[in-house]
């Protein structure tokens, strides 16, 4: 059974397109929200979104997209990609360089890639419209690869010549956390030596607005306050997109290559609410069990945890469920373990969230800080008994949990520890 370490990170997010920018945004509470232009229509009550910066992917034709330096993507590669796969590809280039991997480290039988993305609703919509208007033979041969879920791994496995294990995970907002857990298992069980974990989402109107009619999105038009997990007046989540790649390696590889990891992945757990397709269990039953299983897998007691990166998306019901789950798992220690939701700064990345927030935890473990929970003016009484961080603390955590929950009541918790 091998130990598993995070040795590389790549970020394309609303709060920065590299680790340095991301960390500084987390520490200084710089959020990524704007008054999103495509939402400024009379029949769209949602007004705010956190877009990816410096990329422009609105054009129907990928050859017209703006891709910032240093990223260069050839036409033959771009033609089968939606924005989510593009962000993922750039994040992967970053992560490979960050982990100082050579091409032979990336492409070999013992290196795999697990990914999560909902596909590209915008491209799917355009594609199906064209198919019905002009017939199936007038549609680009690779549009289907660009729009269905799985698009991220189709493109990245081909583009980076991955020869090990590869697949995608579909558990809505828990997807990339599932990808991380199962990638960890591939290495722990000795089936792979290295795994890339990828989360990505388009994060545009077509990806986010489908959540409006179930009243899950914030209607607050103020970018500075719309996303406020744990605040008494929160009214829904704010969407975002982008891509995050984590490089996971076995202990043997870490020693062989002589690199310093960000963090160790100590274990993970998952459990389901068995309750409702879209509403979390009122007591956060599944999430509590996921946390207990993660602790057990990592061989840890609740009292050893320094910080929890909560799933909390800023929805009235979801955040409250998580508070119940935290109190149930931590008991007397609940008042001391630091908790925050970084979605207050980034927004909710759906399939991207699990990987992105684990990436934030990796930075926190390596560089010695605990991100605060931003935009809280009045703490919800439902958070009573919990230590919700109101500001970032420059205290180095040693052991961390990262929570993610998705539709249908899927819950994943990953336990991370400082490396070395």
């Amino acid at each position: 059974m091998s130990r598993v370490f995070i040795t590389g990170l790549g970020f394309i997010t609303s709060i920065g397109n590299d680790s340095v920018a991301v960390e500084s945004s987390l520490r200084e509470f710089r959020h990524g929200f704007v008054s999103y232009e495509p939402f400024q229509k009379a029949n769209i009550p949602v007004k705010v979104l956190a877009p990816v910066r410096d990329f422009s992917t609105t054009s129907v034709d990928p050859e017209d997209w703006t891709i910032p330096a240093p990223y260069v993507v050839k036409r033959e590669v771009l033609r089968s990609m939606g924005p989510n796969a593009l962000y993922a590809m750039c994040a992967m280039q970053q992560a490979v360089a960050d982990a100082r991997l050579q091409p032979e480290d990336v492409s070999n039988d013992d290196t795999g890639l697990y990914a999560a993305s909902a596909g590209s609703p915008a491209i799917m919509a355009r594609y199906l419209n064209r198919l019905h208007e002009q017939g199936p033979m007038r549609c680009h041969p690779l549009s289907v690869v660009a729009c269905i879920a799985g698009s991220v791994q189709f493109n990245l496995v081909a583009g980076f010549k991955i020869k090990g294990a590869s697949t995608g995970f579909s558990s809505a907002c828990a997807s990339s956390a599932h990808a991380l857990g199962f990638a960890h298992d591939e290495i722990k069980l000795g089936r792979q030596k290295r795994m890339f974990v990828v989360g990505a989402e388009d994060g545009d109107a077509d990806t986010i607005l489908p959540f409006a009619s179930m009243r899950a999105l914030s209607l607050n038009p103020d970018p500075a306050t719309a996303s406020r997990p744990f605040d008494k007046n929160r009214d829904g989540f704010v969407g975002t997109g982008g891509g995050t790649v984590l490089v996971l390696e076995s202990e043997e590889e870490v020693l062989r290559r002589g690199v310093t990891p960000y963090a160790e992945v100590l274990g993970w757990g998952q459990a389901s609410d068995g309750h409702n397709v879209a509403i979390s269990h009122p007591e956060g039953l599944g999430l509590a069990n996921a946390m207990r299983r993660a602790l057990a897998a990592a061989g840890l007691a609740p009292g050893q945890i320094d910080y929890v990166n909560a799933h909390a998306t800023s929805t009235p019901i979801g955040d409250a469920s998580e508070c119940h789950a935290l109190r149930a798992v931590f008991g007397d220690y609940a008042a001391r373990v630091a908790v925050s939701s970084t979605k207050a700064l980034t927004g909710h990345g759906l399939s991207l969230a699990g990987a992105m927030e684990t990436g934030f935890c990796a930075l926190a473990l390596r560089h010695g800080f605990m991100p605060g929970s931003a935009h809280i003016t009045e703490l919800d009484p439902a958070c009573a008994g919990l230590n919700i961080l109101r500001a970032t603390e420059s205290v180095a955590p040693g052991l961390v949990l990262n929570n993610s929950s998705g539709f249908g009541g899927a819950n994943v918790c990953v336990a991370l520890g400082r490396a070395g």
Binding site: E63, K74, E76, P141
Partner: protein, 301 residues
Amino acid sequence: MSSTASSVPDFDAVEAQVKEALRRCSPSTIEAALQYRRANDFSRLPLVIFGIVERYVDPALRPQLAAAGVDDLRVVEDLGLDSLTIMEIVMLVEEVALVTISNNDLRELRTLGDIKVFVDCRARGVEPPKPPKRFDSEAILAVMPIQPPFLFLDDACVSPTQATATYRITGEEPFLKGHFKGNPIMPASLMLEALGQLGVFHLLNGLVSEPGKRVDPGSIFFASTDGVRCSRICRPGDVLALTLKPKRIKAPLVTFEGYIRVEKEKAVSVEEITLTFGLVDDVVPSEPEALPIKSPPTSAT
């Protein structure tokens, strides 16, 4: 008296659609496409196809399209287009030239010339030429008067206007031991021989047809050659790609021009290679003779 108002197609809409579809092609391509659509000017089609192919070729490989012999450029091997890019090209050609190209048709389009000829025929409503016939080594061995260890054709492809073949220098060829000692190199004379053998094969596969007669395999001989240039040393492992095109046919002589490439490099070019050949009657196999019916033995009692 009723007048039949002639329906003038709304060309503005067509023009807008063509310009949008070809927006990443050169202005001359767009102009040719508009001329074709406006006036059914088929002579513009080759330019349109060239322009569409050019648009999809990697900028680094585009200079190839400016060279001579462009119609022989193989879309996969020379222009680096994968099968998906060929589908993209076909889709744009279909949209602009208003033709349909099926999967079967697609398989046979190997060179730029193939595409041009095919689309031109389709657009005119004319049957495109039959795809070239392909032969594997068994089929070649069955007809050739030349055999191993002196046969330099692994597989071949024959159409009325040209023959192509490949030969892989294995390294086991007996003459390589001596040419050169310790440094096996395919002799230039044998590369020329290979082209000649392809000419033999072409003669035996329909290059010359006369009613009631066929080419006699035992009658084909080398006559002359001119303008032979060798520009690449070929070694074991190299695959020679041979191309031969008839220039003049006047019995008993046929003159070809041809060349040999290895991957993208030219290895040999021949301005003329001439073979003599003889014809024999095409003998129609007769009905097998009826077996004599033996009368059943009478039992002797």
